[in-house]
Assembly symmetry: C2
Homo-oligomer: 336 residues x 2
């Protein structure tokens, strides 16, 4: 049996091996992605992001356990932990060890850490490819866990159907600016470690920022009072979604069931509003264009003599030719 | 006189107008970039990044003043403040107001805020274009100031010749993981607000991280003791650079002169080691390839019937065709 068939048959070792080949962009991995593609499109991709210290690994851990133990029929759950900083922080390794204790022995859960700092530019693309493998292998819930608030997280959030942004009380006001940026990608806000002091002011800050950022604020403002969380229930009639705020204590399992319900509601909202299909379309179109760009460049480079390309590059380096003029020159030369 | 000539002649209003057109990707802006390109390549691009709360705007402010008042002959100084979160944080606006007070009235300083959250994907490209305009306009020192530690900062740092990473005491250990990631792009480390308690432990943490991350650690380890900062003086003989750590109190101007000297030393190091030329080459080559990719895709899309493209996309959406097979189909069709 080849690797693809073994993965489709549920072989974990084959799955693990294929994930490695895909992550390393091994030709066999690319070929396998193409073969697996018809089997994709069923998974719910859930992005989970937040600063270090918010306890999002524990949260993902608990959510995975909940899906396996409390939801009927229990979906298979994959966790992709993306941590570009892990070569130094060691966070991914420790996180995995903690997870092992609770989640090991359950063949319906698969955890994969990615720490490809080297290929940062393509992190979102690689994550998308790994998610496709899990999707084809029958994992219906796929968590994509990322650290921080940079372009990576935004790009990776674009892959997910539902994005959870995790905060925690007492992480300081200095990161407010970063929080504001990340709020834009949040479908659901989670205040984890909600038994800590300061949870009220964290929630208040999040509500204020939601009010600032959410386009529906006028609708609810004319009722005299802004109630963003309650507004989420009324939102479907406007064909929109206002991010609810959840409080959790992941280490004790508090608030997990409510959060899982909220995730399911968001999925339902996406399907009913047509956003699910729209997001799929946008995602696949972007993937197609990325591949087209790379293929066309590759083809172009293979057809032009290296010394001509180098000569043009030298003229650019000498400031004799601007990059724009250089491109026109190269493209026209091919056609002449 | 056209806009390009006016900019080359030192007209500030024309410069301001051209920067806007370039930022908005106005065709006239693109055309102007091409015309200005032969005049570029003289500026020293200095990236300054760090978390909110480290006081990096004040630091950049002070550095700019120092260049204008203490360096002979005084270079013209441009500041590009990149803050994708500013629509919410208001940080950029406040920052500009503070700066105005000290820097206004000096025609040798030009400050530009960018808050193009909408086109995040192209933030690095837009910043590069603005820097080219300043470079052509005769600004010899160009600061590029960014917030945070995401992909944006890494991409923008790749533009700069010298990258300063700014820390401050007492911002908490929770952001250590982010710091570790950002350290990789640092040429110079700055502990600003160094009059605050905790400066010793911040410096110790940075030294430890430097030790972990710097490839030269073995060289100095066999002497029995690791002295990373002192090692910077010895580094040139290994044709390498170990990031020095500077303490500053920007609000009082403390440590600024030493930091400016360090920046000049780094420039000298880049030129002597050949890294300056290597970075320029890598940067222009990447720019050329980005433009080639876009041009080739644009050309390809304009030659293929929209209904055929749409039809293939529909087959991908229906999972009948993988994106890889779709690209081959499209590219082969064109040639058939």
């Amino acid at each position: 049996m080849n690797l693809v068939d073994a993965v489709l048959a549920g072989d974990r070792l084959a799955l693990s091996r294929l994930l490695t080949r895909v992550e390393n962009q091994h030709p066999e991995g690319i070929e396998a992605l193409s073969q697996l593609f018809p089997h994709t499109g069923r998974a719910h991709l859930i992005g989970v992001t937040g600063a270090p210290g918010t306890g999002k690994s524990s949260l993902v851990n608990r959510l995975a356990l909940h899906y396996r133990r409390e939801v009927q029929p229990a979906p298979r759950v994959a966790i992709i932990a993306v941590d570009p900083t892990s070569p130094f922080s060691g966070g991914a390794v420790l996180g995995d060890r903690v997870r092992m204790r609770d989640l090991s022995g359950d063949s319906g859960i698969f955890i994969r850490s990615m720490a490809s700092r080297g290929s940062l530019g393509g992190l979102a693309q690689t994550t998308a490819a790994l998610a496709q493998v899990f999707d084809a292998a029958g994992y219906e819930i796929i968590f994509i866990e990322t650290v921080g608030a940079g372009q990576n997280e935004v790009d990776i959030a674009r892959l997910a159907h539902t994005t959870l942004v995790v905060e925690a009380p007492g992480l300081g006001d200095d990161i407010q600016a970063i929080k504001a940026g990340i709020l834009e990608i949040a479908d659901i806000l989670v205040i984890n470690k909600a038994d800590r002091p300061g949870v009220e002011s964290t929630e208040k800050a999040l509500r204020n920022m939601l009010e600032l950022s959410h386009p529906l604020r006028h609708v609810f403002r004319h009722h005299g009072k802004i109630e963003v969380v309650e507004a989420a229930a009324a939102a479907p009639q406007y064909n929109s979604w206002i991010p609810p705020i959840h409080r959790t204590v992941a280490t004790e399992g508090k608030g997990i069931a409510e959060l899982v319900e909220s995730i399911a509601r968001h999925r339902q909202h996406l399907i009913e509003s047509g956003d699910w299909e729209a997001r799929e379309r946008a995602r696949l179109q972007a993937e197609l264009e990325d591949l087209l760009r790379e293929t066309l460049l590759h083809q172009f480079r293979s057809r032009i003599a290296p010394q001509i390309y180098e000569q043009v590059l030298q003229q650019v380096l000498a400031r004799e030719l601007s990059p724009w003029d250089a491109v026109h020159l190269l493209v026209d030369r091919r056609q002449g």
